[in-house]
């Protein structure tokens, strides 16, 4: 099926990303995982503070990453979130995912779109325990049985040092 970049498609992408953010805020992880294709890759590389002239760049595929996951890896992480003994999640972290700067482009395949966005994750726990994490995302969304699905996601953080004790959500 060919996707035309019409207004309806762009609106559909916006709605899709907003729904995804709402599922994460509500910790509805199994439903969130259903938004991915079976062959999805979710990658959040570690970011190093390197010079502009350094050919290594600040991140790369064979290097350490917060996430370098296929769907079965994501499922394991979700299993921990859902566990009654995930002590760090109780009382729950109150997450807010804000998605912005959405741009929709044609994908490499006719049934795919390339979507850029920025995500801000505000996380609050206990009384004043809070952190704000930022990321720029590049997604490949694919039309599967009429629905949009995430086939590939890359999240690049601006943080060379994560300003938090952990990363207990997805971006």
């Amino acid at each position: 099926m060919t996707l035309a970049l019409d207004v309806a498609t762009v609106l559909e992408v916006h709605a899709f990303l907003a729904q995804e953010a709402r599922l994460l805020d509500a910790e509805r992880y199994p439903e969130w995982l259903e938004l991915f294709t079976d062959d999805a890759h979710y990658w959040m590389p570690g970011v190093e503070n390197r010079s502009r002239s350094d050919p290594m760049g600040s991140y790369g595929p064979q290097r350490m990453a917060y996430f370098d996951d296929d769907v079965s890896d994501l499922r394991k992480r979700i299993q921990r979130f859902m566990s009654a003994t995930a002590w760090a999640e109780d009382p729950p972290t109150r997450h807010l995912h804000v998605v912005s700067n959405v741009e929709v482009e044609p994908g490499e395949r006719t049934d795919e779109l390339r979507v850029h966005s920025v995500v801000v994750n505000y996380r609050a726990q206990h009384d004043l325990d809070a952190a704000t994490l930022y990321g720029r995302r590049e997604d490949v969304l694919r039309r599967v049985a009429g629905e949009l699905r995430i086939a590939r996601r890359t999240v690049v953080l601006p943080h060379a040092a994560l300003p938090a004790k952990n990363l207990n959500t997805f971006l």
Partner: protein
């Protein structure tokens, strides 16, 4: 001038008078004067881990690293040797290296163009002619300040600011017997995979270091959810392991049992387990039967003061002090250099899946350590001693294992050993004084 060093109350506190009865005063995790003394007497004095040699492959390769709150540039020099210098210009004090790693011909201060070679020597200044006309100006006396000693042990690079410090070999002592389990189980040696992940914890650095030094107890409780996610079952009861130990040498500590692959199994990757099982006979030939069973077993390690790792998961990390209540965590992943690429990839991914800020095990640690630190803000809370009294009579002689050996992995012996060394260093006015006491 220095409340940490000239304070009789701190003198008394760091003696840790309750330690031999299994009690520790909580103020050592909170007090700013104790922290200040740690920077002088622990971090400016001990051998600190600064790099793996594989991260510095050729002349000009550099990394920045920390000894306490002092930052150094660790660099491969033109002659192939390693150097480390304070990352601070002797002119106005600015940093001369702003990248955490890379490849450089030298280091130039962005402020006034003072320029330093890979050997740390001052090479030039902006408007050099003006300086050269200045009577008494001596370039030779104005290089970057080098560390007092730098040395390597089987790929790991350590540095100390203290010229009196014993050699690295003496500092590690018999602990090298244990370090070889991870550093020398294959003839090709080891390397770090690319990259570093850094995060910030609101905890005292010692709470993290002592966890890796000896806290097998927390594994089954804190990490119940991580084990369920990765193994589909709880962590086995470690208190019933017939052959498990706490061992320590000079405050360096390793807790372990002999299940060979218990830690490695948490990566839930057959590539890693097949590799370890396939190499077992070779490792036995290199290290003997006992140490071969430690390669990926349920275990954890801290090299005093703040360099930790987990055999099997192969996460390597430093707990960098950033004030008494804040710690910057730097993590890397170790692999055998000769391992096939897919094995290295599996370890890189598995270590990240388990022990990174998003890892299913690590996520539950930070919360506990922050809580164990912050509660001490309460003045009454702070007066309550902490219990470190497990395994008070567990010390044994072992025919093979060197150092102070305690039977039983669920134990506080290594934590006590860590704090005993900490206490000795915090009291001693110099390494010379401490080494004399060690010998007595």
């Amino acid at each position: 001038m220095n409340a940490g060093l000239d304070n009789p109350a701190v003198d008394e506190l760091v003696r840790l008078p309750g330690l031999d009865e299994g009690r520790i005063d909580r103020r050592i995790f909170w007090d700013a004067d104790v922290y200040e003394r740690e920077l002088h007497r622990i971090f400016a004095r001990c051998w600190n881990f600064v790099a793996h040699e594989s991260q510095l492959p050729r002349p000009g390769s550099f990394r920045t690293a920390w000894l306490g709150e002092d930052q150094v540039i660790v660099v491969r020099r033109r002659d192939g040797s390693l150097g480390a210098y304070l990352n601070s210009c002797p002119h106005r004090g600015n940093r001369v290296c702003l990248a955490e790693a890379g490849q450089a011909r030298g280091f130039v201060c962005n402020y006034h163009g003072w320029s330093f070679g890979l050997d740390g020597a001052l090479r030039g200044m902006h408007e050099a002619g003006v300086y050269d006309r200045e009577p008494g100006f001596d370039r030779g006396a104005l290089g970057l300040t080098p560390v007092a000693q730098l040395d390597t042990y089987k790929g790991l690079v350590f540095a100390t600011f203290d010229a009196e410090a014993p050699s690295l070999r003496d500092y590690l002592g018999a602990f090298t017997y244990y370090l070889d389990v991870v550093l020398d189980n294959d003839e090709g040696g080891t390397e770090f995979v690319g990259g570093r992940i850094t995060s910030v914890l609101g905890c005292n650095w010692k709470i993290a270091a002592e966890n890796f030094a000896g806290d097998a107890l927390h594994a089954g409780w804190t990490h119940a959810s991580g084990a369920e996610a990765m193994l589909g079952r709880p962590v086995p009861s470690l208190g019933r392991q017939p052959e498990s130990y706490h061992v320590s040498v000079n405050g360096h500590a390793w807790e372990f049992n002999l299940d060979t692959v218990g830690n490695a199994a948490t990566l839930d990757d057959p590539v890693v387990l097949d590799y370890l099982r396939g190499r077992h006979a070779d490792v036995v030939a290199r290290l003997g039967e006992l140490r071969a069973r430690m390669v990926g077993s349920i275990s954890s390690v801290n090299v005093f003061p703040n360099f930790s790792f987990l055999p099997g998961q192969n996460t390597f990390r430093t707990w960098q002090p950033r004030g008494p209540h804040r710690t910057e965590l730097h993590t890397w992943v170790l692999v055998n250099r000769n391992a096939p690429q897919r094995v290295k990839d599996a370890w890189r991914k598995g270590a990240m899946m388990t022990f990174s800020p998003a890892g299913v095990f690590e996520m539950d640690d930070g919360e506990n350590w922050e809580g164990a630190t912050r509660s001490n803000a309460g003045v009454v809370t702070r007066r309550q001693p902490l219990h470190y009294g497990l395994g008070m009579r567990s010390c044994v002689e072992h025919p093979e294992l060197p150092g102070e050996v305690h039977r039983g992995q669920v134990n506080d012996a290594n934590q006590r050993a860590l704090y005993r060394r900490w206490s000795q260093l915090m009291q001693a006015r110099s390494w010379t004084e401490l080494v004399a006491k060690d010998a007595a």
